[in-house]
């Protein structure tokens, strides 16, 4: 299988869907002539032209609302946020309009949009550009939230997200754009709501999403090599819908769980998973469910400090050792 970057996988997914469906249009800041602020849309404007790849002015509320309105008439917009942090200026459009239009119309209207862009810290750009709103948006019934960790997942999930008839919030990671994974040439789709066991293990379950899943794989190696602990890594891939069975199956096997995310702890994704495990696998547990998340403060600018603000393999391993 060819090795391609996470960025290229997304680019291929977008191109394939533009070709497949004449209603797919990409709209965002710098997506066309500039080739994308992070080059995810590189070359698409040249290939597909002004109609299908559209540069928007810096008006997130305006162009996301436009996308929702166009979707009501059957267009399928893929709206790029240069950073998910900028979603906050479009919060009303995302939450009230994209998220609630189907419900408030009694099912008469649907909203097949994808809003995509990076949602991560760790790049020394300060608090305003480092938000991870997957927990906030997954809190909204009507929205779906996806957080791929690898190029393979990014491509398969993006193609599914574009074909989905509900609004999908697609959260990428700038630290992964240049990383490579094996991705098949032939077409494939990955369903939303299907987790992926990225490493099998027997002694403890690490549940994570996005880049934190990769950090868990590193922690699992340390645990195996230095402590002879076999950790299983469950990558959620999709926050809402959520693959609860995959989490429970793993916990029932290992009897221990540490929940890892680059999000903040308060009402984070891990909070939801912890509640799930204690409700449905309480008797299977041999230890309290613990969490590892970003240190609970706005993102620190200073590079060496921000590095430790995010979960790293050592912090995850230490947390595991406290209950293993």
């Amino acid at each position: 299988m060819p090795l391609i970057t996470y960025r290229k996988a997304l680019n291929d997914a977008l191109a394939e869907e533009i070709i497949r469906d004449e209603n797919v249009v990409i709209i965002g800041e710098e997506v066309a002539e500039y080739n994308g602020a992070y080059k995810v849309t590189e070359g698409l404007w040249k290939r597909f032209g002004n109609k299908r790849v559209v540069d928007a002015p810096i008006s997130e509320a305006g162009f996301i609302g436009l996308g929702v309105g166009a979707a009501m008439l059957g267009v399928r917009p893929v709206l790029e946020l240069m950073f998910w942090s900028f979603a906050y200026v479009a919060y009303d459009q995302i939450v009230n309009n994209a998220g609630c239009i189907r419900y408030m119309s009694g099912g008469l209207i649907n909203c097949p949009i994808v809003i995509r862009g990076p949602a991560n810290g760790g790049t020394n750009v300060g608090a305003t550009h480092s938000h991870t709103p997957e927990n906030i948006l997954a809190n909204m019934p009507g929205l779906k939230v996806v957080t791929p960790a690898t190029a393979y997942d990014a491509k398969g999930l993006m193609k599914t997200a574009i074909r989905d008839n509900d609004p999908v919030m697609f959260m990428e990671n700038t630290l992964l754009y240049g990383e490579q994974w094996e991705v098949p040439d032939e077409e494939y789709l990955i369903p939303l709501g299907l987790a992926d066991v990225k490493r099998e293990g027997t002694d403890i379950t690490l549940v994570a999403h996005g880049r934190a899943a990769l950090t868990c794989l590193k922690a699992a190696e340390i645990l195996q090599a230095e402590h002879n602990i076999s950790a299983e890594v469950v990558d959620l891939r999709s926050i809402r819908p959520l693959d609860e069975e995959a989490i429970l199956n793993s916990v029932r096997k290992t009897h221990r769980a540490v929940l890892v995310e680059e999000n903040k702890p308060f009402c984070g994704v891990g909070s939801q998973i912890a509640a799930l495990i204690q409700e449905k696998a309480f008797d299977d547990l041999d230890a309290p469910v613990l969490r590892v998340s970003s240190l609970d403060a706005p993102a620190f600018y200073s590079p060496p400090i921000e590095k430790i603000q995010l979960p790293d393999a050592q912090r995850i391993a230490a947390k595991v050792l406290s209950i293993a």
Binding site: V68, G69, Y103, M104, G106, L108, L242, D243
Partner: protein, 357 residues
């Protein structure tokens, strides 16, 4: 808006000369229907049959009826929360609208939307939106979709005078002009954004539509008490949308008789009772249109009364229908959240979508 104006110019406009007597009487019927629908809804609201807010359109009926009368099959309508008038004007039935107010399963939104959230996509009516100016980019998107698909049409996107001060509206204006989108923004200027007068909310006092100059958008200010004028001047914007794919910003001067909503306890503090009575006596769009049709010799006082009676009966029947309709089944809470779940597609069956137990 000081005089009951004689406007032969507008009556003689091409678009108005095409009107049949039935069309003209139909406008009066539509306005009576809106007014009677809302008077009836107010009665039952005060009896505790409805929850939440009730934003009445009373006094503004000519705006929805006049502008929507210009539209064809490929034109679309979206508005804010004061949406009953537009809903009836596009052809929604009183039953489904009244039942929605009563929170019943037979409501247009199955009781999930309420007063502010009426929808009828089959009539090109896209709501009914609760957040001030939140609908302005949606209207832009509807018109964008028309252009994207190569369909000749336009979207009328209504907003109140308070909405002009929201950022999303300005983003929408800029995008509409930049991308030449056939959207027609219609500010229904009833002079008060809740309890704050235009004098106290707008840096530019003379007109609100003038802000369009900042975005290279054509604009106009229209006397909302006269359907002929509304139609004649709005038609210019419709043709601009059809033929040039250019947006417009129209400001239609109007007046609401009730508070911002029925729950607006300060309704009598920010304006005088005399002011309201003055408008009712001199600028009521129903009375003025009725007078006009009588002067034109196509309607009698008795025929007008009959139209009003019919509207009242229709509203009474709608209230009966609503009252007798069942409330939604509690299981309906989880319907209409996700398309894929409702349709039980593979996507809808994969993973957990709802998180109660």
């Amino acid at each position: 808006m000081d005089t009951l104006v004689e406007t032969p110019t507008f009556a003689d406009a091409e678009i108005n000369k095409k009107l049949t007597q039935e069309d003209k009487i139909g406008f009066l019927r539509d306005m009576f229907r809106i007014r009677r629908f809302e008077q009836t809804s107010l009665k039952f609201y005060n009896q505790g049959k409805m929850g939440g807010f009730l934003h009445l359109y009373t006094g503004q009926e000519s705006v929805a009826v006049g502008t929507i009368s210009l539209l064809g099959d490929n034109d679309h309508v979206i508005t804010a929360y004061r949406d009953h008038g537009h809903a009836l004007a596009v052809g929604m039935g009183m039953n489904e609208c009244m039942a929605e107010l009563f929170g019943k399963a037979t409501g247009c939104s199955k009781g999930k939307g309420g007063s502010m959230h009426f929808f009828a996509p089959d009539k090109n009516y896209w709501g009914g939106h609760g957040i001030v100016a939140g609908q302005t980019p949606l209207g832009l998107g509807l018109a964008y979709a028309l252009k994207y698909k190569g369909i000749k049409g336009c979207c009328l996107c209504y907003l109140g005078d308070g909405a002009v001060n929201q950022g999303t509206f300005h983003e929408s204006l800029n995008l509409a002009s930049l991308w030449s989108i056939p959207v027609i923004y219609i500010i229904e200027n009833n002079q008060y954004s809740m309890g704050t007068s235009q004098e106290r909310s707008s840096a530019i006092k003379e007109s609100l539509a003038q802000r369009a100059d900042a975005y290279n958008i054509a604009w106009d200010v229209i006397n909302g008490e006269d359907i002929y004028e509304i139609r004649a001047r709005t038609q210019v914007a419709v043709e601009r949308a059809y033929n040039e794919s250019r947006p417009s910003l129209l400001e239609i001067d109007t007046y609401r008789y009730y508070g911002h909503s029925v729950a607006d306890a300060n309704a009598k503090k920010y304006r005088s009772a005399e002011e309201i009575e003055y408008y009712k006596a001199n600028h009521d769009p129903l009375r003025l249109w009725q007078k006009r049709l009588i002067e034109e010799g196509i309607l009698t006082e008795d025929a007008a009364k009959e139209l009003d009676e019919q509207a009242k009966h229709e509203a009474d029947d709608a209230a009966k229908f609503a009252d007798e309709s069942p409330f939604p089944n509690p299981e309906a809470v989880f319907d209409d959240v996700y398309y894929e779940v409702d349709h039980q597609t593979d996507a809808g069956r994969q993973g957990k979508h709802f998180f109660n137990d």
